[in-house]
Symmetry: C2
Subunit: 209 residues, 2 copies
DNA sequence: GTGGTAACTTACCCGCAAGTCATATACCTG
DNA sequence: CAGGTATATGACTTGCGGGTAAGTTACCAC
């Protein structure tokens, strides 16, 4: 029946379809946020119909949680891998960024999933968010603590604020990367290395007060 | 008539009402984003009814644009004030933050309005967003250029990426401040000054590669 | 073949929030 | 007081988008 283009084709196996949908949905959620994304658009972009999305993920929140879960694990694992190495201080920061760039080269928007302000507050989703953000935050806190300890800063609130700032730096670099698709991961690593070197060796010239 | 609590009271003059509504709406938009905010809630929180909001601002987008306009002008003016001073380099960054903290002490969420990913893309709103973000971005770019020039970095993309990072730093500090309401503006300035001093004098110990 | 199941669709329901209409009270002015 | 205007509201319409029901096609096992 011509009216139903793809109806009844045996089609793609479940696992693969789920991956496809998650890919598309991650872009959408990462770009427009949870509240700004609609499921019908995701389905259309994935080349399937809306009910199929629901068949696989149950609800919009379920879909979001699944995206988040995949993203959180990917990022968390990579950050942890670097953390378990033996680098410390600024070097650890740069190496972590290097890992992020490598892992996210083909899915740059994914980082944003973790920082969605319009995410639903339902306990089901919140717990998934919390699990991953807490893990990443803990690793960031660890790295920042080390760095600041080297510089003689111990105050807990100082470390807390600096951790937030570090995450913000990652965030903004990812955003910039999204806006500059022609830049490769390697380009980004070079750029960051260059900037860090410039700022932390020469720029002390302008140290305030 | 008891059924209409406030109906028909001559009520508050227009200008003052508009200010009240903008105050409430800015909190809502800044907290939940554009897509996550609903007008009825804003009206209720402002102690008035929904049609009045529409009478004053025409639409949800109009309300959002008005919030943005006020915020953008407030922030832009303050940033520009610091920029027109004679400080450069890191000092200028710290002074700019000082200005932000002072101006936003009682409305910390406002900064987020400028960075709302769920903001509508209609030309009407987009132009207002663009006007303010471009102004602020240009000022940030100017400051970052100066700073990097002192450190010997000239590359346009490096400056661009660093500008984005700087804005991300401001962003994350504002977020942290929102999460720590007991911290005064003065506390924040001290904290930032302390961290900058620590990072840019001692931390070169950990300079990478 | 026939029955079972997995992959998929069209067509619908329905609630919520954006936006509107008709109306009411208060104040001012002549 | 009559009439105009500014401030306000309760009750409504409407559309968008989350979610569902029921059916269709293909493959597989026997």
């Amino acid at each position: 029946m011509a009216a139903r283009p793809n109806a009844g084709t045996k089609g793609v196996p479940r696992a693969e379809r789920e991956r496809q949908i998650l890919d598309v949905a991650s872009v959408a959620f990462g770009t427009h946020g949870f509240a700004g994304t609609n499921v019908a658009d995701v389905a259309r972009a994935a080349g399937i119909s809306k009910p199929l999305v629901y068949a696989y993920f149950g609800s919009k929140e379920g879909l979001y949680a699944a995206c988040l879960d995949r993203a959180g694990e990917l990022l968390g694992d990579e950050i942890e891998r670097v953390a378990r190495g033996d680098v410390v201080g600024l070097e650890r920061g740069v190496r972590t960024l290097e890992g992020m760039f490598a892992v996210l080269e083909d899915q740059r928007h994914v980082w944003r999933l973790l920082h969605d302000r319009s995410a639903p507050t339902s306990p089901e989703v919140a717990s998934v968010v919390a699990a991953h953000t807490e893990r990443i935050h803990a690793l960031a806190h660890e790295g920042v603590s080390e760095l600041l300890a080297l510089a003689g800063v111990q105050d807990a609130l100082d470390v807390s604020a600096m951790t937030a700032t570090w995450l913000g730096i990652v965030d903004s670099l990812m955003d910039w990367w999204v806006a500059h698709p022609e830049q490769s991961a390697a380009d980004m690593v070079e750029r960051v290395t260059r900037l860090v070197a410039a700022l932390f060796t020469d720029a002390a010239a302008g140290t305030p007060r």
